[in-house]
């Protein structure tokens, strides 16, 4: 992972959030990705979301695996601890970190190679475990760092830069997540910040694993005509099913009612997400209809986007584990060791 430090320039007129931090305070090292890479837009959206949510940077753990997407954890929130682990294994490292310290916000960044091939097992089981984290898949249908091989999310018929067509069935992370019981499933587009930022905010506030699949075109290897993960193709085929507005706990709901179908889901931290279905009769709290909608869009050659499904009443990893509210790392040793008297007593059991 390459990174170049940005000069610490503070503009005197830059707006600050409730913590007195500017957007710049949420930035990281200079990106070394290709100019125009979708991932950099996702990074910008994450910076915006974190700034708007007023996350304390040092209370965030940035987690990633290997690949272009996984590099991006270096490009935002330089005041956060980061962990660039091994290929496809970010979910297990995050599971361990979250088990040890449930007090942090975990932002996991992965890609279609990292999550849908080598790391598919780990992704699936992180969903099953319902780790409390944001899980972003920067999905471009291609292996960028090794220069252009198809990934498991490449659509049938999508062509490589050399013109070769992919013949194998794609793995769709959204359908996968819906099938596995994921409690927050969204899809967005790196070129649609208006849609992406509120989704990221709601995803971060969500209790449990929030999967956000972001179509994030690879300008070097998968942005040509014939690719189904290009900017042009995605812009043209993107169909937003549900628009999400995130409303934090402390802010009054001032969004005027428009008469549209609006559903408000209260998030675990007390914030709310206001879901506005743009497709008739779409119910984002119904897993089956979400699945059916995504499949129907696919059949029409469209890409279903938006906050497609949310269930805020699910149980997360710590619920299953019945862990104390205090992070395990903060428990004093005296509470963990039964001591000599208990050992002496226990020894009698082995006589």
């Amino acid at each position: 992972m390459t990174s170049i430090a940005k000069p610490p320039v503070k503009h005197p007129t830059a707006r600050t959030n409730g913590l007195g931090l500017t957007l710049r305070d949420y930035e990281g090292a200079m990106s070394t990705l290709c100019a125009g890479c979708g991932h950099d837009s996702v990074t910008a959206a994450l910076v915006q979301a974190a700034w708007e949510l007023e996350l304390e940077p040092h209370r965030v753990g940035k987690m990633s695996g290997i690949g272009c997407s996984s590099k991006t954890t270096a490009y935002f929130m330089k005041q956060s601890h980061g962990f660039n682990s091994v290929h496809g294994r970010m979910p297990s490292v995050t599971s361990g970190a979250a088990a040890a310290n449930r007090g942090l916000t975990y932002i996991g960044i992965s890609g279609d190679g990292d999550s849908l091939s080598i790391g598919m097992g780990q992704l699936s089981h992180a969903i099953r475990r319902n780790v409390n984290m944001l899980y972003v898949i920067e999905n471009n249908g291609v292996y960028g760092l090794t220069k252009g091989q198809f990934s498991a999310s490449a659509d049938v018929g999508s062509t490589s830069k050399k013109g070769e067509a992919n013949e194998q069935q794609p793995i769709d992370p959204v359908l996968l997540a819906l099938t596995l019981g994921c409690s927050f499933v969204a899809r967005s587009f790196s070129g649609d910040k208006r849609q992406l930022v509120p989704i990221l905010k709601a995803a971060i506030a969500h209790k449990g694993l929030a999967l956000v699949d972001v179509i994030s075109p690879c300008v070097s290897f998968n942005d040509h005509e014939g690719s189904t993960k290009s900017y042009a193709y995605t812009r043209e085929r993107e169909v937003e099913a549900v628009h999400a507005d995130f409303i934090p706990l402390k802010r009054e709901i001032t969004v005027p009612e428009t008469g549209e179908q609006v559903r408000v889901v209260e998030l675990h931290d007390g914030g709310r997400v206001r879901l506005r279905a743009t497709a008739p009769d779409y119910d984002p709290t119904d897993r089956e209809s979400a699945y059916a909608h995504v499949r129907a869009c696919q059949k029409r050659g469209e890409i279903a986007t938006g906050l497609l499904f949310v269930d805020e009443n699910g149980r997360d990893m710590h619920d299953y584990l019945k862990t104390v509210p205090t992070p395990l790392i903060d428990l004093p040793y005296e509470e963990l060791c039964p001591g000599r008297a208990a050992l002496d007593k226990l020894m009698e059991r082995y006589r």
Partner: protein
């Protein structure tokens, strides 16, 4: 060799028929009579239907190695009659079920054959296949109690402890036991020439297996995160940890847990969870065996290269591949010492019995945090799954975990710039911070090339500086690891060097050799990398025997690689068939070699 309180017997049964509890009952009864005793469970990788044996050795002198000869065999599995009859020493005894005509396989000159109609008694006294199958085990325990003079009041107390709350079961067990006991008394001259007489040599001891001991060590060390994937013979370690946590780590008022145990999707994830938790600041561990270690290689390298503490319990079994999952071996030594690709070297510690499992488990967590690196506790199936007689465990209430160099928010205020991998003290150990601490302490863990500041690099000098520091760190740990156990005999010329569970047999072998006039010095290696004391011992002896349980003399290789000791000065004694080592194996190998080599 056999006599009062000095003999061995074994039961050959079919697994899944409930013989384990009867065997445990016998062993525990002998232990409670104050007589040193050891049990070895030789079991198949199977749930029901395959042959299984349980060997019990009684030794007034306290020898705990697998017996070299068996005085009495209870043969209850027709599938293994031929093998079981062969196992009896000449002059020994065989017990078989005389309900049916005697199988020709059971006929052998030179041994005494005792027929007891177990099957018939079951049919006459109990109803239903299940009861008959299960209670037959208690009946043979009854017969053995008569033949070997086991104190029946001890047995009765134990049955009451076990079934006290279930009067129906208690009655059935009492009845089954009496059937076997009375039959033997009525038909044979009881007790046999070798039998038991109460002693007082077990008062300060316990019977415990190594997996339970490791789990207890993890509990006392303050480990809060355990991640694992079930695998024989390591499974019980986490199950015991869970049981201990349920007993000691559940908040009584709320029912909430002060621990997290994650059964992962595979060993890769188990390693990842352990490392993630270690990075976050928890004492975390995983338990596995050889196949799991193979799968964890990539993560082990990551933790090594990024200075993350993690504890790995490797309960070794016969490899390679699936190998023999229920047989013991010490064949992971090389793959642990240099686990993962690239230049690596790891701290490995080697317990020899459950007591050391307990102590070393605690040490492992201290070492992992102090040296910020993966630490392996290399146990094996013999230690992990068999009940060993060991001294009671001690605990010092003044113990506090060694968390190593961790800068908290306050300490960071004193630091101008925090550089994650800067070696300030010259010991190769750089201070770390935990996620969640203030902004200055933030750093980026990367498995890719990084410099002492934690920044990405592809610069040769910066890379070398970092990996040289890691080498300095691990090499520097050698004198802080468990020291070798060394003992000398006057006039000894040869040295016996061993590791782990071989200790029991090698100790006994040294005594047997001494009685034959062959004097030996002894060293049991307890840690890798090797300390100066290990080097000195090898330097003092022109010739040593390296005794270990693998085919390729892996310990010898490590000694040759790390210390430069010429291989021809170290004669390997290798026992790798999967059974716990026997003293006679060592005695014979040493004598044969000394006879071949002119003094």
């Amino acid at each position: 060799m056999s006599g009062i309180n000095d003999f061995a017997f074994k039961m050959g049964t079919v697994n899944g028929t409930g013989s384990a509890s009867a065997n445990a009952l016998l062993m525990q009864a002998i232990f409670r009579m104050g007589i040193p005793v050891t049990g070895k469970n030789i079991f198949p990788s199977n749930i029901q239907g395959l042959p299984t044996w349980y060997e019990i050795r009684v030794s007034k002198d306290g020898w705990t190695a697998r017996p070299s000869a068996v005085d009495l065999v209870v043969a209850l599995n027709p599938a293994t009659y031929a093998k079981d009859v062969k196992a009896v020493r000449t002059g020994g005894y065989l017990v078989y079920d005389s309900t049916w005509p005697m199988d020709p396989d059971l006929v052998r000159e030179g041994i005494t054959i005792l027929g007891i109609p177990f099957g018939q008694m079951m049919v006459e006294h109990f109803e239903g296949d299940r009861d008959r199958t299960l209670l037959r085990n208690i009946t043979y325990a009854g017969s053995l109690a008569a033949l070997l003079a086991i104190d029946t009041t001890v047995i009765e107390r134990m049955l009451s402890e076990k079934f006290g709350k279930k009067p129906k079961l208690l009655d059935a067990n009492h009845k089954a036991f009496a059937l076997g006991y009375d039959y033997a008394k009525a038909h044979f001259a009881c007790p046999l020439p070798f039998h038991l007489e109460a002693m007082d040599r077990t008062g300060d001891s316990i019977l415990i297996d190594g997996n339970t001991a490791c789990a207890l060590g993890a509990l006392y060390a303050g480990a809060t995160v355990g991640a694992w994937y079930p695998i024989t013979p390591a499974t019980a370690l986490m199950e015991q940890f869970k049981a201990f946590c349920e007993k000691y780590r559940v908040d009584k008022a709320t029912g909430q847990h002060k621990y997290a145990i994650l059964q992962a999707e595979d060993e890769l994830a188990a390693a990842g969870i352990t490392i993630g938790a270690g990075w976050a600041g928890a004492r975390a561990f995983t338990n596995t065996s050889g196949p799991g270690i193979s799968l964890m290689q990539e993560f082990i390298g990551l933790a090594y290269y990024t200075d993350i503490p993690a504890v790995f319990f490797d309960i070794q079994r016969c490899g390679p591949a699936t190998g023999m999952p229920t047989r013991t071996q010490q064949a992971d030594l090389l793959s642990l010492a240099y686990a993962s690709h690239g230049d690596t070297k790891h701290i490995v510690i080697f317990p020899s019995d459950p007591r050391e499992c307990f102590e070393m488990a605690v040490q492992a967590f201290d070492l992992a945090e102090r040296f910020q690196t993966p630490v392996f506790v290399a146990s094996d199936l013999d230690i992990g799954m068999n009940d060993w007689m060991v001294k009671r465990f001690d605990w010092d209430d003044t113990y506090r975990p060694d968390r190593g160099k961790v800068l908290d928010a306050k300490a960071l205020e004193q630091v101008q710039r925090f550089s994650r991998y800067l070696d300030v003290d010259g010991d190769g150990i750089a201070a770390r911070t935990l996620p969640g601490v203030g902004g200055k302490g933030a750093y980026f863990v990367r498995g890719s090339g990084h410099d002492k500041h934690g920044q990405y690099t592809e610069d040769s000098d910066a890379y070398q500086e970092l990996v040289d520091r890691l080498k300095r760190k691990i090499d520097g740990s050698a004198e802080h690891l468990p020291a070798p156990v060394v003992s000398h005999q006057p006039g000894a010329e040869v040295g016996l060097v061993t590791i782990g569970s071989c200790e029991a047999a090698v100790h006994e072998a040294a005594e047997l050799l001494r009685r034959e006039g062959i004097h030996t010095d002894y060293m049991r290696i307890r840690a890798f990398p090797f300390s100066e004391e290990v080097r000195r011992f090898l330097g003092r002896h022109e010739h040593t025997f390296i005794i270990e349980q693998n085919r390729d003399a892996q310990l010898r290789s490590l000694l040759a690689i790390e210390l430069g000791v010429p291989r021809d000065q170290m004669t390997p004694i290798l026992d790798y068939g999967g059974m716990p080592l026997q003293a006679q194996t060592v005695v014979q190998a040493v004598k044969t070699h000394l006879a071949e080599v002119p003094a």
